[in-house]
């Protein structure tokens, strides 16, 4: 309650001052713009991302705003398509683990017993194991490509969500309003869907946003290692890898896609941190 009151004070104060927009708001706007560019890349991009030309490794110019790469492809167009590739990968790479983890976590937390113990055990044990190395090993076993990436991210990522949701479900299950719902004669699945899940989902949604950043780093580094997307696919990490042999003469070719990863990462983290401080505030106030 006091949290909510404090929040009202803070926002009314900044409203009166008409202060500069907060950082997380700027970050959200940037993310929306990135999403728009990614979706509209086929219409916005000046060139096809795979169209080669004899203008190879040219610095930024009027014809090519960000220059051209070793095969004479337009870097701006490739970056636009790369954003598309990355967004299309990281949303499911963070989303699938969330779905799987939430289902498992809900069942475990609600049913308790062996399932719950198993989820807890796996979550504990996996904490002591190198997930990124497993990621590489899984992709190595399955062969590179988006499908392998998604399977690998899901296989390793569900655990965090399952633990999170399980804890939350157990906490809410014993909360007063859920017991009240039982007393009113609701059935278990009804209570689960109407009362328990919405609360648990608030936390997972926050975590999902932060996880997007992790997925971005993961996809980029695997592609940099030539273990992510198939070669030739425009992707930010792969673009860094393709350009690295020219780094001395044409640093911008490495700098640009890397900087794009940083900007995306910072914006995702800013929005995620803001959401998590808000959900923390709410659960503290409860």
């Amino acid at each position: 309650m006091s949290q909510a009151v404090a929040g009202v004070h803070a926002s009314s104060r900044s409203g009166r001052r008409m202060a500069l927009p907060r950082f997380h708001q700027v970050a959200a706007v940037v993310l929306v713009l990135v999403a728009v560019v990614a979706i509209a890349a086929p219409w916005l991009a000046p060139y096809s991302p795979s169209a080669q030309s004899l203008d190879q490794i040219r610095p930024p110019s009027g014809a090519h705003a960000l220059g051209t790469d070793a095969l004479g492809r337009d870097i701006l167009s490739r970056m636009m398509y790369a954003l598309r590739t990355d967004l299309l990968l990281i949303v499911p790479a963070a989303g699938l683990p969330m779905v799987v983890g939430t289902v498992v976590g809900t069942l475990a937390g609600y049913a308790g017993g062996v399932l719950d113990a198993a989820v807890r055990w796996i979550a504990d044990v996996f904490q002591g194991l190198p997930l990124y190395i497993f990621l590489v090993a899984l992709v190595a076993a399955m062969g590179r490509g988006p499908a392998s990436l998604l399977v690998a991210f899901t296989a390793l990522g569900w655990i965090v969500y399952a633990r999170l949701v399980r804890t939350e479900v157990r906490r809410i299950k014993t909360a007063g309003f859920v017991e009240a719902a039982y007393l009113l004669g609701r059935s278990s699945p009804q209570v689960l869907v109407q009362h328990v899940l919405p609360h648990a989902l608030k936390q997972t949604a926050t975590y999902f946003v932060l996880d997007l950043g992790m997925a971005l780093q993961g996809v980029a580094v695997l592609s940099f290692f030539n273990l992510g997307v198939k070669s030739g696919t425009p992707e930010l990490g792969a673009m860094v890898a393709d350009a690295q042999i020219f780094i001395r003469s044409s640093t911008w070719m490495v700098a640009l896609p890397g900087a794009a990863i940083v900007v995306l990462g910072v914006c995702i983290a800013a929005v995620g941190d803001h959401l998590s401080s808000r959900t923390r505030g709410e659960s503290d106030g409860r």
Binding site: G128, L129, Y132, I133, A140, F224, V240, R248, V254, V262
Partner: protein, 315 residues
């Protein structure tokens, strides 16, 4: 170490067993993920039909899963991690040749992280309202999102290629050359790990600074570096080391990234090459070694905490 210290170590080793078990299962199960014929994948593209048949017999693909797992663990126990399907060199030999580079990077990366994170944590915890703390907070929130392969390349360009100050690829000969070759890679690991470390160290230090026992210590006249050394540091270190243990995976993967970026002949670069070329025995063996590495790292962190914090020793 006193008797209780050994008992603690024994207890920790027991706790490690399930982790070890799961690691073996995961590494073993990697085989099952190989699409198509695992025997062919393991034997490699150069293998003749006879070799593939031999591998198939070795794997015992007709046997039950448990028998196969048992014989896999048996081979591991005998020190047999298989052979590379590119070079036929035993995986153990590859590890032996390359583990030194990776261990050096681990140590150097850890030192770089502490050197970068320490001062930042001190400012964040002791002068939280200062301008410096504000700047550090901003720098950390960017640094935490830096992909280290890219940081490595940019450092290599600016410090190595442009200024010509340091080598940027491979190991230069001699001790001095080695040290110079490790400098940028370790700095890269430091940059990627220090944000976590700085934040967690600052959090523990802040808690200690606000604690009752520090008020007591100040009330009996402890101040300045004495207060810092005897009371603040000794209490803030154990939780920081525990959190560092949680970062072991990130630290290890950091060595993989810089080995690849700076062309250093370590385990990580080998793993990436093997993965890209589908040299499955090497990938499997190195995954196991990295897993064991994490387990050992966590054990060391636990032991360090118990040495630093008397409460965990006789609790």
């Amino acid at each position: 170490m006193e008797g209780s210290g050994w008992r603690l170590l024994g207890r920790r080793l027991l706790q490690v067993l399930p982790v070890l078990g799961l690691l073996l299962v995961v590494v073993f199960a990697l085989q099952a993920l190989i699409p198509g014929d695992p025997a062919r994948a393991i034997a490699g593209p150069r293998a003749t039909e006879a070799q593939v048949a031999h591998v198939r017999a070795d794997l015992g693909l007709d046997e039950t899963v448990t028998t196969r797992f048992a014989s896999y663990v048996g081979r591991l126990a005998g020190g047999d991690l298989g052979e590379s399907n590119r070079s036929d060199v035993p995986v153990t030999q590859i590890i032996g040749q390359r583990v030194g580079v990776t261990l050096s990077l681990l140590l150097g990366g850890l030192v770089a992280s502490v050197l970068l994170a320490g001062p930042a944590a001190l400012v964040l915890a002791l002068r939280p309202r200062s301008r410096a703390a504000w700047v550090i907070e901003r720098v950390l929130s960017v640094a935490i999102n830096l992909p280290s392969f890219w940081v490595g390349l940019m450092l290599a360009t600016v410090v190595g290629l442009r200024a010509g100050l340091l080598p940027v690829g491979g190991l230069e000969p001699g001790l001095g050359g080695h040290l110079r070759s490790y400098l940028l890679p370790c700095l890269t690991i430091g940059i990627s790990l220090s944000p976590f470390l700085a934040r967690s160290a600052a959090t523990s230090l802040r808690e200690v600074v606000a604690s009752d026992y520090v008020v007591t210590a100040r009330s009996v006249g402890a101040s300045g570096t004495f207060l810092f050394r005897r009371h603040l540091l000794r209490n803030a270190l154990p939780p920081t080391v525990t959190l560092l243990g949680f970062q072991a995976g990130a630290l290890l993967f950091g060595t993989v990234i810089v080995e690849q970026t700076f062309a250093l002949p370590g385990l990580g670069a080998e793993m990436i090459t093997a993965a890209a070329q589908r040299d499955f025995p090497v990938v499997q063996g190195l995954t196991l070694v990295f897993g064991l590495g994490i387990i050992v790292f966590n054990l060391l962190a636990d032991v360090a905490v118990s040495v630093l914090d008397p409460r965990t020793r006789t609790a």
